[in-house]
């Protein structure tokens, strides 16, 4: 079920939130949690019920392994169990991501009687597998945080993040199923969640989908563009993925807030960053945190006691390449991870040298580089990516607009409205989370929220909703 669909916005979410609030206040926290678990499983199985066994299997296995880690007396056994658990999750994840590639290779050999099995990627497998790994590591480090089965099942299947994050830690989420904590009242958090959800919906259906149409028109095979056009299409994709994923994250966090549960924020105006390390502290923050704590740090530690700048650079390149690999079985993703890792390594060396660039220049360099990385992320092959990048470099046809002209007669509003609104939101003003935490309880903001929801509904009603980009991972 898409967050930006009528069944979710106007039926599923209101029913789940109202019933959960009623059950929690009248029946008890445990019954409310059971309702949440059932709702999450229904949400997950909505599109393809045959995916449910994979999620349930993952929940059961990790719960059993977590229990075993917590109860194992000897340190060696605990470590072995942890590595077994991590290995099992990675094998589970990679069997869906990479076995298909291997089998497709076999199918290409035309072996007699060989039929390619359907190993379609279960929705959210990349995200819930990482959450399970985090749970096992946390249980290893603090055995007292081990979950009951109900807690673990509710945590792992929680519908706001099960499909695409934010990747959350069990020890931060599970206690919130039982007691509401925080400085605000439950109703206030729910209202702020509703506000954030509507902002996210607007980002997705008003901006991301519009940018997506421009980007889709640009990233087509055998394309020949002027430098200006190549940059326009590249920027369109950068804005598409930003508004798509941050919009999705806002809707996920907003949905959770409506249930009285706080989740980690995932985006903090990343396109305003002035360095690559700042960018990765602002972009897909829950994945960045995972990479830092569960990949980069262990890799660095494995290189010896004394951390040097060289070791740190190698660790960050390896960690980011693994992150690229996590996105899918394509050289473009691996290359994307590799160049991000290389850029972070250069950034570390630069910082060590204590050299400074003017703010505007460092922003421009960072933003341009981020766009280059997105070319690899969006391109179907490395060859296509390099072809596209060559067109982004100054060439004979510098400012031609013939390809854009082909797009403009069909969609003039499609181009200018999102570009103006998107540029403003990405580079200036408060972020959606800051807005949701500001003083929203005024009549103008109530009116603005209602109008935005009406506009969102109009867009949702215009065509079949485009799926979220990160559903592919």
């Amino acid at each position: 079920m898409l967050f930006s669909s009528f069944p979710y916005v106007f039926v599923f979410l209101p029913v789940v939130v109202l019933t959960y609030a009623f059950a929690k206040s009248k029946v008890g926290a445990r019954s409310a949690q059971v309702w949440l678990l059932l709702s999450s499983l229904f949400f997950y199985g909505w599109a393809k019920p045959s995916n449910l066994p994979f999620l349930l299997g993952s929940i059961l296995c990790n719960w059993v392994i977590g229990r075993a880690i917590a109860s194992a007396g000897i340190e060696t056994n605990r470590t072995r169990l942890l590595w077994f658990g991590i290995g099992a999750n990675i094998a589970f994840l990679f069997s869906f991501k990479y076995v298909n590639v291997f089998l497709s290779g076999l199918a290409a050999l035309h072996l007699p009687g060989f039929v390619l099995p359907d190993l379609e990627l279960p929705l959210g497998v990349s995200f819930f597998s990482l959450a399970q790994i985090m749970y096992l590591v946390d249980t290893y480090q603090a055995p007292e945080t081990v979950n009951s089965f109900l807690d673990h099942a509710t945590f792992a299947s929680f519908f706001p993040y099960v499909t695409s994050g934010p990747i959350s830690r069990s020890m931060e989420v599970v206690p919130q199923f039982k007691t509401f904590t925080g400085e605000t009242s439950r109703i206030e958090l729910a209202c702020r969640g509703f506000f954030l959800f509507v902002l996210g919906l607007g980002k997705k259906v008003l901006l991301a989908d519009a940018f997506g149409r421009i980007a889709d028109a640009g990233f087509t095979p055998f394309s020949h563009y002027s430098t200006l056009e190549a940059w326009v299409f590249c920027l369109a994709y950068a804005f598409e993925i930003y508004f798509d994923f941050s919009g999705y994250s806002d809707m996920a966090i907003g949905s959770a807030w409506m249930l009285g549960i706080r989740l980690p924020i995932n985006f903090n105006a990343p396109f305003r960053s002035k360095s690559m390390s700042e960018y990765w502290q602002r972009w897909h923050m829950s994945l960045s945190a995972f990479i830092t704590h569960y990949l980069y740090t262990p890799i660095l530690r494995s290189m010896g006691r004394r951390a040097t700048i060289g070791k740190s650079c190698v660790a960050v390149i390896v960690a980011m390449s693994i992150a690229g690999l996590w996105h899918g079985p394509s050289l473009t993703y691996i290359f994307w991870g590799l160049i991000n890792g290389a850029a972070l390594a250069v950034n570390q060396v630069w910082r060590r040298k204590k050299k400074r660039l003017p703010g505007a220049l460092s922003w421009a360099v960072t933003f341009a580089f981020v766009n280059v990385t997105f070319v690899f992320f969006r391109s179907p092959t490395l060859e296509f990516a390099f072809h596209f990048l060559r067109q982004m470099l100054p060439q004979t046809d510098l400012l031609g607009v013939s390809a854009l002209r082909g797009l403009i007669p069909f969609a003039p509003n499609l181009l200018w409205r999102p570009i103006i609104a998107g540029s403003f939101l990405a580079f200036f003003g408060k972020t959606s989370t800051e807005l949701a935490e500001s003083d929203i309880f005024t009549p103008p903001k109530a009116f603005a929220t209602a109008v935005l929801l009406v506009l969102g509904a109009l867009c949702m009603n215009t065509s079949a909703a485009k799926t979220f980009l990160y559903f592919a991972f």
């Binding site: 009242s185 109703i187 206030e188 729910a190 209202c191 509703f194 929203i440 309880f441 005024t442 009549p443 903001k445 109530a446 009116f447 929220t449 209602a450 109008v451 929801l453 009406v454 509904a457 109009l458 867009c459 009603n461 215009t462 065509s463 079949a464």
Partner: protein
């Protein structure tokens, strides 16, 4: 403002705005979905794929005897000129049989007066199976209650209200596009020297489903090969012959085909003013071809073949 009051106010404003919008759209009923359409003159404003799909639900079957199915080749044929049968032009620019099947299924599903389907026999209709701007499904009915496409339709409507001479489409489904000077990329690809045309199996299957549905609903099928400039037709004569043979193999006894590229229509074919880019009929030629088609329909009707 208390949070609960804020939430109540927001939801109330949303319901008020959404409710008012829906009520206004149902009242205007631009696609004839909510009120009796008999005698109304509804134009395919906005995205004409969405518009024609929705108009085909009630407006077309309740007001027309025949539909004309085809690509851009026939979309500028003003069917007001067909007097034998009141004919709605369902042609869509760049369309294929997958898209046209949706329109036809929609038009014949509702009870009405539809008796004849005039099907353009053009290779572009079976060359691919992709939907162009939007998938034509029942979900589109929702868009008539409020959507960006409906907003675009109102903009078209308002534009025409302010400037009545700005005619881009009419209540018979005609698309009055500017005469193209050069072949577009798709047509050029299709007309490249080769002894046959690309055939997409999914488009062919849609064609078969479409004609089967017409037969089931007692809608008579009449196939029409649209005229083409001899300079474009001649190098592809073999390919067109094969294509016509494919269509004829699909026909049932009693079904007729009119081939406007035959000798019989030499006068029309030899006049270069009748063609714009060689594939499309010019604005000047459109009334002439419609008159010829009307003559053929009259002859068939008089012979009790229609």
């Amino acid at each position: 403002m208390k949070p609960s009051r804020w939430l109540f106010t927001t939801v109330a404003i949303f319901l008020l705005l959404a409710g008012a919008g829906i009520a206004a759209n149902v009242y205007v009923d631009i696609y004839g979905l909510y009120r009796n359409t008999r005698g109304r003159h509804l134009v395919d404003y906005g995205d004409n794929r969405i518009a024609k799909y929705l108009l085909s639900e009630h407006y077309v079957p309740e007001n027309f005897d025949a539909i004309l199915i085809g690509p851009s080749v026939s979309s500028n044929w003003d069917t007001h000129g067909i007097h034998t049968l009141r004919t709605y032009n369902e042609s869509l620019n760049g369309s294929n049989f997958v898209e046209q099947e949706c329109l036809v299924q929609q038009a014949i599903a509702a009870p009405g007066r539809l008796k004849v389907a005039i099907v353009m026999v053009h290779p572009s209709m079976t060359a691919d199976h992709e939907f162009d701007t939007v998938r034509l499904t029942e979900e589109l009915n929702r868009t008539a209650l409020g959507s960006l496409s409906l907003f675009e339709a109102y903009k078209d409507w308002f534009g025409r209200y302010r400037n009545p001479r700005l005619t881009i489409s009419d209540d018979y489904g005609t698309d009055f596009f500017e005469d193209p000077v050069h072949l577009n990329a798709t047509a050029a690809r299709l007309m490249r020297p080769a002894s046959d045309f690309p055939m997409d199996p999914e488009a062919v299957a849609a064609f078969r489903r479409m004609v089967a549905a017409c037969r089931r609903n007692h809608v008579t099928l009449l196939y029409v090969a649209p005229p083409m400039s001899p300079s474009i037709f001649a190098p592809k004569r073999d390919a067109f012959r094969k294509y016509m043979a494919f269509v004829q193999a699909e026909m049932r006894p009693g079904e007729r085909v009119i081939d406007f590229n035959s000798e019989r229509y030499a006068d029309f074919l030899c006049n270069p003013n009748n063609f714009s880019d060689g594939v499309h009929i010019s604005r000047a030629g459109a009334p002439r071809i419609v008159a010829l088609l009307d003559g053929e329909l009259r002859r068939l009707r008089e012979s009790w073949l229609l």
